[in-house]
Symmetry: C2
Subunit: 347 residues, 2 copies
C-alpha cells in the first residue's frame, strides 16, 4: 500500500479540515483510492511547528486549540514556526501549502513552494498568490526537479475547473471563459435582488461568514482578478500579469440598477472573463455584466461559483459548485494528491 | 508520432463528424494531443463498407453521398456491410462504434463491441444500448483483453460527465445525482413555459430537429432511463437493470401545471435521479419534478442537458452543456481516444 508523507504548511481551516479527513477516512482510502496519507510535519506562523517522522496523530492535530504556539505542546513541537526545516527536513513526499494569499508578491507562500520543489517534493496548494504571480517559474522548477505542482483549489475550492478544462475538455479548443468566481460578491448581488441595499448586503455576508472584516478584495474584484489570471494562463496559454486584467467591482451598483435589470429579464453579475482572439492574443476583464436570464451564469445565486467555457467543438460547457469552505477546499488538496498518485502509479 | 488506426462502425452523423474533424485537425493534433488518427475501415448497414489499411481519405468519407451502398464507390469498398470483417480485419487499433441505440437488447452494437474487444482492440462508443444493458460484461471483456472500453458520449454527448465524476470528483464521495438528460423533453417544457401546448411544443422540437418523428422515447422518459442506469452503475456501483428504474414521462403535464409552478417560483423538469442509501442500496427514478427556481437545474433551459452530483465533501456540483449534436458527440469519441492515449502513454 502506497503511503504519502505530508508536511502541512499553514494550519488554518483548510489544512485542519484535511487533517480531519485523514483522521476519519484514511482506512477507507486504502480501498477507494489505493493510498493512505501520513502527516510528518506541520508549520504555522501562529501555532508554531512540529516534526514527527513516524507520523503525527491527525485527529489530535485537527482538534489542536487555536492558541499561539499550541504546537509546542506536542512531542517534537516548538512554539516557533521553522518553516524551512519542516518543508525540507520532515521527510515529506508532498508539501501541502495552505497559507494566506498575498496578492502583491505571493510571499511567503511562493518561497515555501520553491523550497519544496527545489527539494524534489511534490507541492499541492490552494493559494492564489503563488499561482497568479509565479506559476511559470514554479511549474518550470517542478519540471526540472521531476515532481508535481498542483493547485486545483486556487480557483473554485474543490469544484473541478482547472483539471476539468485540461483533462475532460482536452481537444475541445477552449476559446475563452466567463466565471462567477467570488462567492461574497455574488451573495451580495443576490441579497440586493431580495431588496437589501449594498451596505446591508455586505453586513449580512459578514454575519454569515462569507465576507471578511474588510470586504474590499471581494467586492472590488481583486480576488476575481487573480483567478482570471490563473485560468487565462492555464487554459488559454495567455502569459498575463495581474496588471493586464482590467478590474471593476460591484460597488457602483445600486438597487435601482438591480430592479431595472429584473424588469428587463436580466441580472447583474460580477464576471471574470478572458477571450483568445484570432491573432492569438488574450484579453481579460473583471467587471459587472448584465446577463440575460437565459445566460448559463444568470441562475448562479448566493455564494455558489461557476465557470462557463466557450469551446470550438462543444459550444458552452458550465460547471458550478462551492467556491469556498474548509472541507471543500481540503478536498481540492485531496484531489491534487489523487492526481499525483495516478501520475506516479503510471510512471 | 503515435498514430491510431480507426475502424468506424456506423457512418451516420456522428462518425461523419469525426471524419470531418480528422480531415480538418489531424495536423494540429500532432502538437496539441501528441497523436494523429487514420481511418482504416468503415462499415454501415445502409452505406456498405470499405477497408483501406494504408488509410482512407477522411475528407472524402465525410462528404460521401448518403445513398444506399455508397461505400462501394471507393477503392476497396463494397455495397454490403461486412461488419465483422471491418472490425476484426481492417488492422484497427480502436473500433469507433456509433450505430443506433437498441433499448431492448443493445444489438447489433453489443456484438460489434464484443468482436472488437475479443480481438484486443480498444472500443469507444456513444451508444447507450451496450452500456446500459451489458456494461459489466463488456468491461470485464476489455479487462481480460487488456484494452480500453470508453463511452463518455453515451450520456451527454461530449459534455464531460462520466469522466468528470470518476476522475475530477474521485474521493468526493458521490452520494447521488439528479439530471436533465434529454434535450427534447427539456425543450418541450421550456416551450410550454413560453405558452405552447404540449403537442405544439413537440411539433416545434421536431421542426428544429431536436425530436424524432416518433418522440415517444424522449417524452416518455425511456431515453433518460437508459442514461440513469449508465450513471448509477458507473458512479454509484449500483448494478441496476433498466427495469429497476421507475419511469414516468412529461405527457401528463399541461399548461396549467406549468403556470401554477411559475406562480409558485418553480419549474417542472424531467429528472433522472439516483441515490445511494445508508444500507448501500441505490434507488433510481425518472419523473417530472417540481424544482424551485433556486435549484441548480431549474435554470437549465431549451435543449441543454445537466447533471448535479451530490457529494459528501463538496456538496452539490453541477455540469451543464450540450446533450446532443453531431460534432459534440464526435468530440466525446475524441475525448475517449485522448483518454486511451494517456493510458497507453503511461503504461
Amino acid at each position: 500500500m502506497t503511503e504519502y508523507k505530508l508536511a502541512l504548511v499553514g494550519f488554518g481551516g483548510v489544512n485542519r479540515a484535511l487533517a480531519q479527513l485523514i483522521a476519519e477516512r484514511n482506512e477507507s482510502w486504502k480501498k477507494e483510492l489505493g493510498f493512505t496519507l501520513k502527516i510528518v510535519g506541520v508549520t504555522d506562523l501562529f501555532l508554531g511547528c512540529v516534526i514527527g517522522c513516524e507520523g503525527l496523530d491527525a485527529g489530535q492535530l485537527a482538534n489542536l486549540p487555536a492558541v499561539k504556539g499550541a504546537l509546542a505542546q506536542l512531542p517534537g513541537g516548538d512554539a516557533e514556526a521553522f518553516n524551512e526545516a519542516v518543508i525540507k527536513h520532515s521527510g515529506a513526499d508532498i508539501v501541502v501549502e495552505a497559507t494566506f494569499t498575498n496578492p502583491v508578491d505571493g510571499e511567503p507562500a511562493t518561497s515555501f513552494c520553491r523550497w519544496a520543489l527545489e527539494g524534489s517534493k511534490h507541492v499541492v496548494t490552494t493559494n492564489k498568490g503563488p499561482i497568479a504571480l509565479h506559476a511559470a517559474e514554479l511549474k518550470d522548477l517542478a519540471r526540472r526537479n521531476n515532481v508535481a505542482f498542483e493547485y486545483e483549489g486556487s480557483v473554485m475550492s474543490g469544484t473541478p475547473v482547472i483539471r476539468l478544462a485540461k483533462q475532460s475538455l482536452a481537444g475541445s479548443s477552449i476559446l475563452g471563459f466567463e466565471g462567477i468566481l467570488n462567492g461574497t460578491s455574488n451573495f451580495v448581488l443576490s441579497s440586493m435582488e431580495d431588496g437589501l441595499g449594498f451596505a446591508e448586503a455586505v453586513s449580512k455576508a459578514q454575519e454569515l461568514g462569507y465576507a471578511e472584516a474588510d470586504p474590499t478584495a471581494d467586492v472590488e474584484g481583486h480576488d476575481v482578478r487573480l483567478k482570471v489570471v490563473i485560468l487565462a494562463n492555464e487554459l488559454l496559454d495567455a502569459k498575463l500579469n495581474v496588471s493586464d486584467v482590467s478590474c471593476k467591482g460591484i460597488c457602483g451598483l445600486n438597487l435601482s440598477d438591480i430592479e431595472r435589470a429584473r424588469q428587463d429579464g436580466a441580472r447583474w453579475k460580477l464576471i471574470g472573463a478572458a477571450t483568445r482572439h484570432a491573432d492569438g492574443s488574450v484579453s481579460a476583464h473583471v467587471e459587472p455584466r448584465l446577463l440575460s436570464n437565459d445566460h448559463p451564469l444568470a441562475g448562479i445565486c448566493g455564494a455558489t461559483n461557476a465557470v462557463s467555457f466557450t469551446t470550438g467543438l462543444l459550444g458552452t460547457v458550465t460547471v458550478s459548485g462551492p467556491g469556498a469552505g474548509r472541507t471543500e477546499t481540503a478536498f481540492a488538496l485531496l484531489s491534487d494528491i489523487i492526481n499525483i498518485h495516478q501520475s506516479v502509479a503510471h510512471n
